[in-house]
Symmetry: C2
Subunit: 460 residues, 2 copies
């Protein structure tokens, strides 16, 4: 099955890009693009800017896949990392503990809803979700309800791409090639506020769209272990935004029916929606809370799955019962990453931080008004520091551009020429800069983004 | 479903351990042990030693879950990390590339068998395996063989604990609670050299035990996407060691039947078995090679899945075919981790390094002879820098100690008093120190380990 070697020199002239082209397999990248649209070769980063080897500068509009909160090259995060490096980069986390992890667990449980008392560390969003799924399954098995082994997830939901996490994703682009081997879970139509079938508005409705969820939970109660959601914003599904009343209904229903709730706040935690965490900000108490991405402010991989004491208690039997949670990752609770996470929390919790952030969100909201005037704007929506512009072919009927036209991708290319690095999700452009962005930069981002849309669609 | 708060003060007197006890959920840890056997609170690490807050020192006999190759606190790895930190901690890896990743991909493909030309980066061993499984599935789908969607794995095999990776694990302790939701794969009895059913020896046999694999591959050829193995040493399954002839037979059979091979060298790569990689050292060419753990010498989470150009080619269609690999992790190819990995490779490839390592392995082999004299020794086995002592109740009949007696765990506790940190797998003690260990330390480890066995079993 040995194949040919890597490809020969091609249309790519840059020697470093050619080296990349010959040996790297990039994530989520149509391979045919690599020859036609050169990658950026980024050499350094500072604040909200990325700098490439050719002297180009790009504003990191999407915070490097939603991970960077406090800006690149942050002196205090670097200092926290190097201070920990002088003590210990890493040590295993079974039979051993260390101060960076103890402190982080203490702080996370203090900052999240009261019911969340336990922290299980891992490396990325996918594993944080897999851990919640597995703990939920084992919990029901060990409390006399082994038939509870299906998960409910929302259409357009995204929760990671390892096969367990992918089994609770509602996005065909990500899952359809793997459908034959995925778990038998339950997909439910979720909120779709732009195209609300009830003709209501997200700021005044009563989550009438909760009905299909209610029905699924009622119909399959005995089989359901947990419901998983991205609270308030469905990220990879196109930055779809929905109101907290949906979550309140979900919590009430799950509490009544004895079903776990899993909040995947990997993308939306740490003030991204305006609240420190969505759950805490809206008086909600999920059974599990998954965190990653911003936890180290875009420095190092780290993830945490939080849960409550009643869950942990079900895993406490004597050794001979073999009912503890047999799960591990080698770099679980990596001290370097924990130290950076602790300093990230210190910075996020400094007095006035969230107020300044709220002002920046307001700046984004005001600036975003210009996007609503674009003839292809279906909606400009915003939750905290996430702004999203959904583009349509026909504004009247909200007819989407066909994916094949690659409207978002072409706008991305046009925006690069304007020194913006953004990466639309299909026809949805979004703005999710590091919180270090200034008011002036926010306005400039929106202006340039609008111009990039005109560059592409204004000429058709 | 809100439970009670964390537990009150208990038998644990140390205030930091109490904080840990109240909020941390440790991986792979029987919870009932936490009150009775205090965790070590490790504060710093240097070379092969871990230092706790109480002034205790422990030799890291198992390299912190097999990750640490060059010793803790290595000045050159720290320098590589801080140098990269001055440029850029992280940036997303779609639409963007960077020198640390390009260099690492180039070096990994140069150091591994010629057929492996492509590198997909992720964060841990589980994801490196999930990526191989998913690429294999999608490859067959896109080359007209969608029915090839089952994986073959060995009894006692371990490949990670996300649900996809767990579906190819042959260890009941890890998988049985989750069996109802795992993929429908094929488990095959693998080599069991200590208790060889053919009465042969691993250094002179012809892998007669390949027969069940041969039968499974023949019987299910059309349904099988790939076979996954831990080459030469099955780690979590108890450091079971088997000869390369098994792998040669596997490669020949899979080549003939058009089945992919996945080598999980997460634990055994980077000279752990004596060869740089098992595949490269034995003239083998797997379709996929999974690497993690030692790739950063125990500094930071990072993983790589390598594959060949013929596989990559099947993902190259135009955008409209939607046949690229839709998979990503936020911290994919983290520049800090890549920079440390590059420096790790530089150190491992320095002239004379592998020769010195071979001498250390020889020292371990000679010192290990003393273990064979223990009345509970079923076998002392060794492959490169992995030594393993399998303990049995009855040496004549190789009758194992029942797991409930926790022989390994009790020896672990006894060894701590002797300043060794080891963590047996059931009844198998093993020695997998950082390569920085000296000859004198190797001898001391083995002496102390033998004494710890006597401490526990000599009194019964």
């Amino acid at each position: 099955m040995t194949g040919p070697g890597p490809p020969p020199a091609s249309a790519i002239n840059d020697p470093d890009l050619l080296r990349d082209f010959q040996h790297v397999w990039h994530p989520c990248t149509p391979l045919s693009d690599l020859e036609n649209y050169p990658l950026l070769n980024i050499e350094r980063a500072d604040g909200v800017y990325l700098y490439d080897k050719n002297g180009g500068r790009y504003l990191d509009v999407i915070a490097s896949w939603w991970v960077n909160l406090l800006g690149h090259n942050h002196p205090r995060l670097k200092a926290a990392l190097t201070a920990q490096l002088e003590k210990m980069a890493h040590v295993m986390f079974a039979g051993i503990t260390h101060e960076p992890a103890i402190e982080l667990a203490e702080r996370l449980t203090a900052l999240t809803p009261d019911n969340l008392t336990r922290v299980f560390f891992s490396d990325n969003g996918s594993t944080s979700v897999e851990i919640a799924l597995k703990i939920s399954l084992q919990y029901w098995q060990q409390t006399g309800r082994p038939e509870k082994k299906r998960f409910v997830y929302l259409k357009d939901g995204y929760h990671g791409e390892t096969l367990g996490a992918l089994s609770v994703c509602g996005l065909p682009l990500f899952r359809e090639k793997f459908d034959p081997v995925l778990m038998d879970n339950l997909e439910v139509a979720g909120p779709d506020c732009l195209r609300c079938p009830f003709g209501l508005k997200r700021d005044s409705c009563n989550a009438e769209c909760f009905q299909p969820m209610q029905e699924t939970l009622a119909q399959h109660t005995e089989a359901i272990a947990a419901v998983i959601v991205e609270p308030l914003v469905q990220g990879a599904g196109g930055m779809k935004m929905y109101p907290p009343v949906y979550l309140k209904k979900l919590e009430a229903a799950c509490r009544e029916l004895k079903i776990h709730t899993i909040y995947d706040e990997v993308a939306v935690g740490f003030y991204r929606t305006g609240s420190r965490f969505v759950c805490a900000g809206h008086g909600l108490s999920p059974t599990f809370l998954c965190l990653s991405k911003g936890i180290t402010s875009g420095t190092l991989p780290l993830a945490a799955t939080l849960t409550e004491e009643a869950v942990y208690d079900a895993f406490k039997g004597e050794f001979q019962q073999f009912n503890w949670f047999v799960h591990s990752h080698s770099y679980s609770a990596n001290p370097l990453a924990c130290a950076v996470a602790n300093e990230t929390l210190t910075l996020l919790e400094e007095p006035g931080f969230s107020e300044v952030l709220a002002q920046k969100a307001e700046t984004m909201r005001r600036a975003g008004a210009v996007l609503e005037e674009l003839p292809w704007c279906a909606e400009y929506r915003q939750t905290g520091m996430i702004g999203a512009l959904e583009l349509v072919r026909d504004r009247e009927n909200l007819t989407p551009f066909p994916l094949e036209r690659r409207v978002g991708f072409r706008i991305y290319q046009a925006a690069l020429k304007r020194e913006l690095f953004l990466r639309p999700l299909g026809n949805v452009m979004y703005f999710m800069p590091p919180y270090a962005v200034t008011d002036e930069e926010i306005k400039w981002i929106i202006e340039q983004a609008a111009a990039a849309v005109e560059d592409v669609l204004g000429k058709e």
